[in-house]
Structures are given as C-alpha cells and as structure tokens.
Symmetry: D2
Subunit: 136 residues, 4 copies
C-alpha cells in the first residue's frame, strides 16, 4: 500500500485540471492536507473577481487528497461552500482541511479557504465515502 | 434597466473563466437559465474523469445568470452539490435551474446537471441575496 | 427479511418522538414515503409559528423511513433544509420523498414539505449510508 | 432597542417548543450563544437514541438566539447538519455558536453540538438574513 505522499503524487500525475489551476501542496499527511493556488486572469468572471468555481475546485481537491491519503479510494458524496469574501486577481488561496469525523465507511471534513492576508474567503464542508479499493 | 439577455451578455463579456469553460447559453429568461459545456482534456483529474469543480462551476454560473437576470445584482451566499455519476471526457454537461423560492431579498434555486444522455450527474442547490444595485 | 411496511411499523413502535409529533403515514414503498403531522401549540416558537425543528424532524423521519424500507439499516450522514414559508398553528405538514440516487452504499433524497394548501414551506436534502445490517 | 439578554428572554417567552425541549441558556452575547438540553425518553426514536430532530432543534434555536441578539430580527434561510455520534437517553447536549461571517444583510454560523463528555455529536451550519425590523 502506498503512503500519503505517494498516493497524492499518483493522483496529481496526469491531473490536467489541477495543473491548469497550478495547485501547490504545502503540507500533507493521513487525513490532512494544505494546498494553495495563485489566482490569475483566466480564473476571473465578468466582475474581475475569481469565479466561485475556483475556490470550490481548490477545496474539492483538498478534500480528495486528505481523504484518499489513508490508502482507500475515497469518493466525495456531498459538498457545500459558503463564499464570504471577494477573491481578486493575483490573490493566493490556501485551503486547509480539518477532519471532523472518520469511520470505516465515511468521513466529514471542514475546509477553510483563506487568502494571502490570512482572511477567510470561503468555508467548505465535504462528506466522503471510503470504498474497499486500495491505492497501489 | 437591462433585460435578462442584456444582463447575461454583460456578465459574460470579459468573463475569462466562462470562456475557458466554453459555456454555451441554451435558454434564458428572468429567474431561469439553461447552459452547457463540453468536457475536454484540460478539465479532467488524475482518474481521467471531470474534476468535481467543473460541474460546480457550470452550476454556479447558471445560478448567477438566473438570479441576476431580474435586474438586481445578486450574490451567491450558500451552495451545495452532490456528485452522483462520473463525467467523462467529451461528455456534454447541461445545467438547468429551477427557482424554488424568491423574495425581495433572497432566492433559492435547485439546479440539475445532466449529461448528453439526459442522465443526472449532479444536483446543486444555491441561495442568493439580491442587493439594491441595478444592472445598467 | 421484512417488507417496507413491516420495517416502518417496527421503526415507529416505541418511537416516542414520532408519537409526540403524531406522525401519520400516508404512503410508503421501497425508497419512498409520504408522511404528515398537524402542528399544535406545543410545536410553536415565541413568534407563534412552528419551530424550524418541526419541519426538519418530519423530513428527517421521512428520510429514515424511505431509506430503511429497502431492508438494510440506513444511517443519515448529511442533511440540509431551507425554510421558505412560515408554518402556523393547526397547519398540516406533508413530507414527500424523491429518491435522486441510490447505490449499494449511499442514497440521496430530496424531500419537499408542503402545507394543507399544497404550498411548499421547506426543501430538505439528505444523504444516507446503507449498512450491511438487515432488518429482521 | 433591547440588549441581547432582553431579546432572547422575549424570544423564549411563550416559546412552547423550547419549553418542551427544556432549553437552558449557558452563555449569551451579541452574535454568540451557548445553550443546552437534557435528552429524555420523549425525545427518542425507535432505536432508543435521540431523534435527529432534537440536535437540529437545539442548534436551530442557538442560531436564532445568536443572530437575533444584535437587535435586528433575523430569519434562517439555509441550514445543514451532519450527525456523527449517537445521542442516548439522559445525555446532555450543548450547542455553541461560532460566527464565521456577518454583513449588514446576512450572517454565517457554524455550531458544534457536544455531549456531557465533550464529544461532538453533530456539526451544524446556518445562514441567516437580517431584516430591517428592530427588536423592541
């Protein structure tokens, strides 16, 4: 069975959308990860702020990395996000996971997305189901 | 005050991320829209299926278009999505809004995301706040 | 293995809170149920309208009945509710389930709560996990 | 205008359902509250554990008290709860609010529900809309 780092390396390999987002891994261990991206012009909507899908995508990747890093393939089944602060061009977004619950079958994670001034821009909550399939 | 089509045209103009997603407007009127995109290789994750952020981004745009088309600037305050079916490369995703509630101040929308075979791939729910600012 | 009706009868037997709510089963089959209650004075908050917990409790029971009626013990893992209309004393609330997705392991249900005038008062969404344990 | 304590006293007066739940206020100030209840037999479902509606109702009351205590009448518009641990008869449930965001118009609160052993039994998230009406 692979360890947390090997699993996420495998997930990121050939992951075109994460490459496009230029997701950067800051920290990672079983059930936890902290990742970031830098907002660029292609991520903006018509108001010249980041599209809500950018924060969501970063948090959804963080959820996937944290949950899969235990070694079982994990599938997201329900996620929610509250956007509370505008995200501007050139902002750095950091998503950090907090595991609220884990059983053999399901996991619950809250993820706070902050900017480079350490201000929260969005709160994400995600539930995953852990399958029987191992990463290898 | 602008009409629904003029407002969404204005929103889409200079909207780099929607351009990148190649979002296509199928139908649109006050409080309603139906939009689509075609999944391409850049939207895939390491499992060779579409990243969850792609369905979310399409639905979040649909929410914004439907809610803003009344003429008041609307802000998304809480959204959730349940992913229920894998989305493959070259699939077409269609997001259609259903307005569940609207007051002067807030609106509630459910959005179903289907693929080219008319099978649901995700269910999205979004709440917006209507500001006092008019589109003009 | 028990059938849908036998399972829900067993769930309701000794269910003190559902007795207190005076929940009434209108219709029931595998993966579906429609139940009601009549609001009384004990269910009101300080504004003389029904406490939000009343609609939630009715919908949560509907979720449990619909999901358990397949024969596997099902556990609710994530639920949300949007309250959109005031509920008055003596109103009848009806909760009807709609199964959006079902796999061996998880199920997703939307539940609309209407009043005696067939107007929606709340929208509920719930995800369950199906355990290996049979009802018997 | 009334202060936080006066507002919540007014909310609780004639609040029949909170009386039935025997909700107890532990701490309260603007934008914050901590309340509890003791589970009794009438709150149990057919599995002899507390019905999910009990934790929800406690958290929903906490949301209402925290948000209304600023002086403007606040309305809950979207709430979600994840139940993660069984609640037994005679357990004490404590709900404590954490204000994640507040603007003139909307507020976002996370609420953790713990038992007498300080173990989390549920996580609640709620969004409110602040009306123009003052408490007086």
């Amino acid at each position: 069975m692979l360890n947390a780092k090997e699993i996420v390396d495998k997930m990121l390999k050939n992951d075109s959308f994460s490459s496009w987002l230029e997701i950067n891994i800051i920290d990672l261990h079983e059930g936890y990860c902290k990742i970031s991206l830098k907002v660029n012009e292609s991520m903006l909507n018509g108001f010249s702020i980041a599209h809500g899908g950018i924060s969501y995508s970063l948090a959804d990747s963080a959820l996937a990395f944290a949950a899969n890093s235990y070694g079982k393939k994990a599938v997201s089944i329900e996620t929610s996000i509250s956007h509370i602060k505008k995200v501007n061009n050139h902002d750095t977004l950091i998503a950090e996971t907090n595991e609220l619950n884990k059983t053999n079958k399901t996991g619950l994670y809250s993820i706070t997305i902050t900017n480079q001034e350490n201000l929260a821009v969005a709160y994400f909550k995600g539930t995953v189901y852990f399958s029987e399939k191992n990463w290898n």
